[in-house]
Amino acid sequence: MRGKDKGMTQQTGSPSSFSKSQISETDFEKQRGISHVEVRTGLTQVHILDLDSPTSKSRLKVMKVVADAKISLDFLKLTPTGMSFVIPADQTQLIADTLTKANIKNQLATGRGIVLVHAVNMRDEEGMIAGILRQVIETGITVDHASDMHDRILIVTDESQAERFKSLIEKGGVNGS
């Protein structure tokens, strides 16, 4: 047992067989609040409109058409008469052709971006998710959609607004929320 290594204990006056680096104080946890903001551009938002009733079945038909065209959709949101989702911009023409061919009424909004507001363990900080959304909205950007993960909130908006928001947050500092 190391506890019997009395020689070293006497030399250091502290733990016997552990080096100083092993007992040095260390930073552990990440700081609270927004750590940084990131922007992903090159997206198109697709709005599917006026689906036949029952809407739930019609939505599935649309999703099948999209999946068959090998298009990956993100940020799916159900709306009273349809749905909306986001796709990579390089698939805009493909989705336009696919939806037209399937006779699905739609609107495409190009030039969309995602703002990713990073903040660790948001679920543990009471009110933090709401606080980040408040800050986003107060900068004046139009939020087309929002979603959350354990360490970030994702906001779909216009590309130019996304960059503006990033710069606003960075200018105001990114500590706390």
């Binding site: 047992m1 733990p15 993100d74 009471e126 606080g131 959304l133 959609h145």
Partner: protein, 452 residues
Amino acid sequence: MAHNVHVMKFGGTSVATPEARMISAMRVISAKEKGIQPVVVVSAIGRRGMPYATDTFINLLKEIDPTVEPDPRELDLLIACGEIMSSVIFAHTLKTLGHTAMAFRGGQAGIRTDGVFGNARIVSINPTALFKCIDQGAIPVVCGFQGVFSEDRTLPGGELTTLGRGGSDTTASALGAAMHATAVEIYTDVDGVKTADPDAVKEAPTLRQVTYDEVAEIAHLGAKVVHPRAAEIAMNYNIPLWVKNTFSDDIGTEIVSRDKFPGRRVTGVTHTGKLVFLQFDLSASEKTHRGTLEASIYGTMERYGVQLFMLNVSPESTGFAVPRDQYAIVQDVLDGLVIPVGDSDSRVVYVFQLGKATPEVETQVKLLESLGEVRRVAAKLTEGCSMVSVVGHEYMQQPGVFLRALEVLEDEQIGVLQTSDSDFSLSVLVPEADTMRTVKLLHARFGLAEVV
């Protein structure tokens, strides 16, 4: 001689009864006999409702006068007693089995935190006292969930702080990092991280490896596993972290960094408790006023510490789900909330209304109408729902994933009220009565019975 520290953390159920403590203690002794130097971390004895559980202590204050909020500093001093008792009892249990052990409060173990009472974060650890204990041949038993804050480190003592949710897991991981442990083991009453809640899917297998991101996302979406803060520390310091069952010999689940698990898969299905979904219709408001109204909604939720799930924001409406036990607060602060927007020439007074207007809101609107233009911001309420999520690793970006989930729910006539997704998950909001059935269906749909 190379050291070989294992941090062994025992949760509430593992220290709840003399029998459970004996089994836990035998695990510690067994590790020591194999040449490992165990450092034990304990939670408070038992879970909600039991005599020495954290909630029981809080109730002692609430019983005096439920309308008076306890001071956070005082509350930390009180609830930390649970772990202090637990550590002393566990150390004594080890002594009765012939092994010297010493109990340590968080501060005595060298754990320093920031000064946020009730939700402190660890800033540093000086484990000198623990190493001395080991060197004397004893087993340190450390109180989880607590540390000490001191603005001036030259002064003796300091304020006792507690670490908030997942605090004992975090203590274990941080001690592991500070002591260069070869493993951190979180002991609980299940075999490890499961692919679903066994109450919903009895045969849900135990995952043998999960990544930090998967664990963090699973916890974020409602499941109780090892806390993400603990996993994060273990990952940053490259310490093997395990979740094991105190009461079985199953090998458990290892939490690994992303680079050690390059595969693509669906990890599991999680679900939240009872939620209330609120969707605010902003279409009756001036477009230029919507930002102010939304900021008021979210600012109020922030101020009152309300947890939000299933965000559903668009230019015409904004919505989210809140835990049912927080809905009373939401109703109290938002129903009837009055927000005047615009200057004196074009001022509009908005009144928030949750669900059907109460007589109080109607009276308020009539009074305000006599002063100028009043518009309502009505929120549609969906009570009695829950969120079920499929968590995946490098999986969600594939075409057709959402379709696979929604198809099976449509076939089984489960009404999906809303959806949400991120890089790691997709979620559906369903009627509460269908929660367990939804978990079961999605578990089967994504072939999770075969996942390891």
